[in-house]
Symmetry: C2
Subunit: 568 residues, 2 copies
């Protein structure tokens, strides 16, 4: 049976669903509409085009075998009819018709469909502020934006840039400006950390520290009041300061384009986004949707999730393609995996951060571990930081986030946890996770196993500790004399800190704890620190064994404090 499938939207999900369907039913007809003149581009690549990593904007819309994905390509190679510059104005579900209008000529028309796919994507959120339409103020949405931004930089017109919003795109754009072009770049974020809700304040600070070292400035907890200039943007005014800007990027999230669906009476979420079932069907069984205009299920909270990512769109698109052809493929939801490269480092995660877990009502805690990413004797080893989020009573793992180098090592660990999150893993599933082992790739006890072991030790109350945020508070109160800071490393490592803080920094190497127990004050809280928290943990066990239970271990040790930006 030959069908006519109409697809509204020509980026990511739309083309994927169209092409997949055509491969299963080559005899059926597919018509794909898009408002823009460009279709099927990799919007996620825009920051890398702006930075110059991707030399040519066309690369964002070519296949891996160098063919441009334009109308002709879809016709000849994929057998899909494409109408660009064409907006779907109305869906008539009874007549099974889509009304459209050419956005250039105003010409209108009607398409009959057997099945319909709504892949209208999302639109960058606007701030609704004065000056938002000045020249030099950009959103990061399509290749036209990208070309416009890069052209102005390469012409030398951009000496200063302000990025509003410290999510993925904002941070990637800040890197693009500062790294390749040496533009003086400032990021303004309304929350008090970068990547709010996605990572803990500690991991966020580590990523931000690295970006600051690379020359990016940050103003957190500030809201933009206006964008000013005379035709061309000149400055950004926040509630705390004025920042010069030849170029402004607004990256404060996106909103799902669900109007045409909403007007057709399809169920949408109250905060936006088309509601779909596991087969990616809307409330009309002949209409499918997915990608940036739809909401899916969060596999951990069970709540609706808006997760506008190209990877989600592609996977869902294939499922829609199957189901258009009578298949019964299902998409069982998402756990929210992400990664963002920040110069020579990256932040990544999956599942819930501690903040998100608490907001979702879980009785959760997290542990943070710093450890080498491969055998400590292997020359290319690097420190990685992982934070595991666990539900207290059930020992269920709710998520993991990390900060590490810009290589693939950390994202590999995050992906391994992402893979099992939907099976409701317990701590022990991560403790025994069978990561492939060889010294160039991992430790015999991989950091992922270790961070789960650390969560186990925390639940057993063997490892009672805090991270850099809390250490900073304890250290700030050092003059009050309630705390005794003990460095559990060998003397040579501790010496410089003792010299700089002669009254507060003490040194008892972990192996000497029992012998020198009399040096440990009984009337103070002992704050134990070593390189990464491993030896101080052992020291904590020894002190506890000797009845000194008022002991705090600094998780991540000096390595975490340094990455966090604390100078002692």
């Amino acid at each position: 049976m030959s069908q006519h499938v109409v697809v509204i939207g020509g980026v990511a999900l739309g083309p994927k669903a169209a092409c997949r369907f055509k491969r299963i039913e080559p005899g059926s007809k597919v018509t794909m509409l898009d408002m823009s003149d460009l279709i099927s581009y990799g919007g996620c690549g825009i920051p890398y085009y702006v930075s110059g990593d991707v030399p040519d904007a066309e690369a964002l819309r070519t296949t891996a075998f160098h063919m441009i994905r334009d109308e002709k390509f879809f016709d000849e190679v994929k057998g899909v009819d494409v109408m660009t510059r064409t907006r779907a104005t109305m869906i008539d579900r009874e007549k099974k018709q889509v009304c459209y209008e050419n956005v250039q000529t105003g010409e209108t028309g009607v398409l009959d469909y057997d099945k319909l796919v709504i892949a209208t994507g999302a639109t960058p959120r606007k701030l609704g502020l004065p000056g938002e339409n000045l020249k030099g103020v950009h959103y990061v949405s399509n290749p036209h934006d990208a070309e416009c931004i890069r052209a102005s930089i390469s012409k030398g017109q951009v000496g200063t840039a302000v990025v509003i919003g410290a999510g993925f795109i904002g941070l990637e754009m800040a890197e693009a400006f500062a790294d390749m072009w040496g533009v003086e770049t400032t990021v303004v974020e309304i929350f008090d950390q970068i990547m709010p809700r996605l990572v803990s304040p500690t991991l966020a600070k580590m990523g931000m520290e690295h970006m600051e070292e690379k020359g990016v400035r940050f103003h957190l907890g500030e809201s933009v009041k206006s964008i000013e200039g005379d035709g061309q943007v000149q400055r950004v005014v926040t509630d705390k300061r004025t920042i010069e800007a030849d170029c402004v990027i607004i990256s404060v999230g996106v909103l799902p384009n669900d109007e045409v669906a909403r007007e057709a009476g399809l169920k949408c979420h109250e905060r936006g986004g088309i509601v779909v079932d596991e087969m990616m069907r809307t409330t009309d069984p002949d209409i499918y949707s997915g990608g940036d205009c739809a909401v899916i299920k969060h596999q951990i909270t069970g709540q609706p999730l808006f997760l506008p990512l190209g990877s989600m769109a592609n996977r869902q698109g294939r499922i829609i393609g199957n189901n258009l052809a009578g298949g019964e493929s299902s998409f069982d939801g998402a756990v929210g995996s992400f990664v963002v490269k920040l110069f020579e480092t990256s932040l990544a995660g999956t599942g819930l951060s501690l903040g998100a877990a608490e907001a979702a009502g879980f009785d959760a805690f997290s542990v943070m571990l710093i450890q080498l990413d491969r055998a400590h004797f292997y020359p290319t080893k690097e420190l990685m930081t992982l934070e595991l989020v666990v539900e207290r009573g059930t020992r269920r793992v709710l998520g993991i986030q990390g900060f590490g180098s810009s290589g693939d090592a950390m994202v590999g660990r995050i992906n391994a946890v992402a893979a099992i999150l939907k099976f409701k893993p317990a701590i022990d599933d991560i403790s025994n996770m069978e990561l492939a082992y060889a010294p160039p790739f991992s430790s015999a006890m991989d950091i992922l196993n270790s961070v789960a072991n650390m969560a186990d030790n925390a639940l057993r109350e063997m490892n009672r500790g805090v991270g850099p945020v809390e250490f900073e508070k304890l250290w700030a109160e050092r003059e009050a004399g309630d705390y005794c800071f003990i460095d559990c490393r060998e003397h040579a490592d501790a010496q410089p800190y003792m010299e700089r803080n002669p009254e507060h920094w003490h040194n008892i190497p972990q192996g000497e704890i029992y012998k020198r127990l009399n040096e440990v004050p009984e009337d103070k809280t002992c704050v134990l620190v070593c390189n990464t928290g491993a030896r101080s943990y052992e020291a904590q066990i020894m002190l506890t064994h000797k009845g000194r239970s008022n002991v705090v271990n600094i998780h991540g040790g000096m390595a975490a404090l340094k990455k966090y930006g604390l100078e002692l």
Copy 2:
């Protein structure tokens, strides 16, 4: 309650179990015996010490914070008593005693235990051939071997080396010899591929091709008959040739050291290895075992598995430590993850290879995909090859293996599958696996999603193809005229092949298939090829749609043929 725990064996599992137990029960006593003078070393690091990547043999037995793990370290830092050069000669289970003997002095003694851990590890398998004890013939087992091998190389005594056995250690040692020292290195393997049973012949050939490019020679399907020399080794004689050798490495597997357990009446596997339950207990509930001397459960076949890896030993050691202290931790088996670096590439895998799956009685098939490891427009992209093994009827994923660069990208993908294998994932769990996405790390449709999609397409019979092994056979029969080889790439890509093979190599770009259908012979099997198998897959669908179903797609395309070493 204070206990005395005796641990027989001081490498990997032994120290891990001992230290973990001491952390939980600091008031108990642990005595650890080892036959050698060295303990707690990272044996897996030996090839990297021989190569010079690890400058100093001591690094193999230091902690990440540079302390040597010797008797003093275990005493002061871990609270564990160590007796080196001490062999456990007998276990008296009734009296709960271990009899021991000092291997240097012959002095004997007896230790009472409350609980016992047998961590006797494994011993390199010998060939039982003449000449095996000549000077210059080595096993790769402990740091003494390592120092001996490296000393002879660095003194310039090794111009030629023969490695017997092409498993992990053999290949790592071959790289160490050839890479850093320029030693003329030959590997002899009795099976007809490297890493037999672990990866398919195709992946094995890809890894071997790369090693050959780096100067290592291979003789497969040959068995060693004798090792010859006059005091010092001079040559290796196989059933086919004589190979000069100043140094010989024998790496033909290891055998579990289960004698002391067997003599004590503990249940052992008929092919060797102490039998343990999920709590790592032997058939005597007061005696635990694990690591290289024990057999565990294979989570896919359910069969006993001997998996001598340092990573296994460490994870099991922690579980034993917990259970010695009254815990109820369990180890639910293994799926057999592995990775080996081969110069600038690596081979990795988890679960069952196709050969192993068939041997275990599964009705299995595999698909092989070559795809870029990150966004195709991102500058550091590289091709990765993955082979997914699936049970036909149930769509259950049984394993995955891969060949890729020596970076972390591939092992990250393997680990993500390793993580879920015990949950009996179906193809669709991999198709929708939520790998973190950003262009510097992955494609929107990651290669891991794609290889599962390919398995789905194979089951739907939409993608009917073969790999390089079968292509080689088809190509060898080209003169018979039963096959029509069609290159589905653009003309410029196909041209050189057409010039070299004017009678056999045809070119119809995939987008022109419908227009040029008359050029496709109806009486021959069409063999379709493109860069990686993606466009030829689309061409196959188009031809099938037009009634031409006698079509074979070459999986992996020209990229696979090249990596496989085929010149056309």
